[in-house]
Amino acid sequence: MLKEEKYQKLKDIIKIYLPEDVAVTDIEQDSHFMNNLNINSANLVDIVLDVEDAFDIRLENDDMDQMQTVNDAMAIIDAKLAEK
């Protein structure tokens, strides 16, 4: 899977959780989920599950704790896909 393709897939997951005052175009590689995109911590749990389903991987508790930004998520997805 190309990096661009993965990024798009991730953005598609994130966009549904954006509050009304944040636009899809606000999503940047270094966006912090909670601080920049205003996604609440409860929904971050759901993003993790959606990522698991979309990429057919499993994220552990440590991975979830480290997943603070879009870049973090990309790195974790890459690592998990490489393990497969």
Binding site: I16, Y17, A42, N43, V45, D46, L49
Partner: protein
């Protein structure tokens, strides 16, 4: 401090009609919302008839965002939000779009059990050792107060936001709780109502108790027969009803349409003593509840011209009529008109009191007494107490003055609320 309280908004999501227009038409015509349920047949239920609101998928989009719809698997929340938001809009109120909670607006929205299908989903995941896959919506959809929490967030209410639960009395009890809060000056506007989930996991327990009719699976619209000699048990239903209660002062200041006045009522319990039990009412308490409701409302028993009973279509209907008759001291031709909507909507359990109260109040608006269905063969025990003319089998043109509505529930709990027609002239004289 005791202030006058009026009803300024109604909303409903019922087996025989979603939203006020369809619901009103169904009641005028006695159209049934009871249907054969293929999933109950597949699961081997004795009674395969039930009442479930027909909610179109695209209608749900009007009430929930795509994010809120994700993983939404709690029919009670869907019904409750539809009824609650509709009632709010019907009252001419808007969602709070400021950053300040509406301190004078609150919610008392009851349920018996919420998010049963969501809970089942969670149980399966947990039993598979997959608790981590529950996501964030499991708690909010299965907590009893999920329904008031959803509505509270959607409307931005800053007064009391809570969920009451008193079995089949829930909806009627909620109206009186909201009434008290406003009459005591603790709130100006309260959204009150109740909801009940659909499905085999809610209805199964009643089927197991063998209190549901088993002989009408091929004839669902005839299955629920309140006050009938051939009544064979209640048909379970589901849905939600909602009412906006408001201080008269606030309603008049806003120029809101007023459906009726709430005069108050009574809530009590028979203590499961005497003939009362977990599942059967103690008549002494039922009569006391009705009598106290009349006293608390500041009226005479003779002022009541219409009753909406609990009347579930079991063998206890005759006893209920006897309790009304004794409590009010009225019998035969002197007895008020009485109806039960359970013949067409079934027994919507925790939602019964609110759905039936919405219907009850609509009678003031329509200036009718809605018909009873499936009781052409009125039970002879009932006819010994009251005249058959008191039980309209066709919708009757009659402008109600004072309507008493009661609900009785498991746990031997009772609630009776008194509604009064509202006239502008009178509002200035008191």
């Amino acid at each position: 401090m005791s202030r006058r309280v009026v009803i300024t908004g109604l909303g409903v999501c019922a087996p025989n009609g979603v939203a006020l227009t369809d619901f009103t038409n169904a009641l005028l015509e006695g159209k049934s919302g009871l249907r054969h349920q293929p999933n109950l047949e597949k699961l081997g239920f004795g009674c395969q008839v039930a009442g479930e609101p027909l909610v179109k998928d695209n209608l749900i989009d009007n009430y929930f965002t795509p994010l809120e719809r994700r993983g939404l698997n709690a029919t009670g929340i869907v019904y409750g939000v539809i009824a609650g938001i509709d009632a709010w809009k019907d009252a001419g109120l808007e969602k709070n779009t400021t950053n300040e909670p509406s301190w004078d607006c609150g919610i008392i929205f009851g349920t018996g059990i919420l998010g049963v299908d969501k809970f089942r989903e969670a149980i399966h995941l947990i039993d598979e050792g997959n608790v981590r896959r529950l996501g964030s919506t499991s708690v909010i959809q299965t907590m009893a107060s999920g329904i008031s929490a959803y509505l509270g967030g959607l409307l931005g209410c800053g007064n009391q936001v809570t969920t009451n639960s008193a079995a089949c009395t829930t909806g009627t009890e909620g109206i009186l709780m909201a009434y008290e809060r406003i009459s005591q000056g603790k709130a100006e506007i309260m959204l009150t109502g109740s909801c009940s989930d659909s499905g085999p996991y809610v209805w199964g327990g009643f089927d197991a108790m063998r209190i549901l009719p088993r002989g009408y699976n091929d004839n669902p619209t005839k299955a629920s027969r309140p006050m009938s000699a051939t009544a064979a048990g209640f048909i379970p239903g589901s849905g939600a009803g909602a009412l906006v209660l408001e201080s008269l002062e606030s309603a008049q200041k806003r120029g809101a349409h007023i459906y009726a006045e709430v005069l108050g009522g009574e809530i009590n319990s028979g203590g499961q003593l005497g003939e009362g039990s977990m599942t059967a009412p103690n008549s002494i308490a039922v009569q006391r509840c009705i009598r106290n409701a009349v006293t608390n409302a500041g009226i005479d028993a003779s002022d009541i011209d219409v009753i909406n009973g609990h009347l579930t279509a079991t063998t206890k209907d005759g006893l209920e009529i006897e309790n009304w008759s004794k409590a009010l001291g009225r019998k035969h031709d002197d007895f008020p008109y009485i109806n039960s909507f359970k013949g067409s909507v079934g027994h919507c359990l925790a939602a019964a009191g609110s759905i039936e109260s919405v219907a009850t109040v609509l009678q003031f608006e329509e200036q009718v007494v809605f018909k009873n269905v499936n009781c052409d063969d009125i039970h002879p025990e009932i006819l010994k107490l009251i005249s058959d003319t008191c039980i309209p089998r066709e919708t009757k043109n009659h402008a109600p003055k004072v309507i008493a509505k009661a609900s009785f529930g498991f746990g031997d709990v009772n609630a009776c609320v008194i509604f009064k027609a509202f006239s502008k002239e009178e509002s200035n004289s008191k």
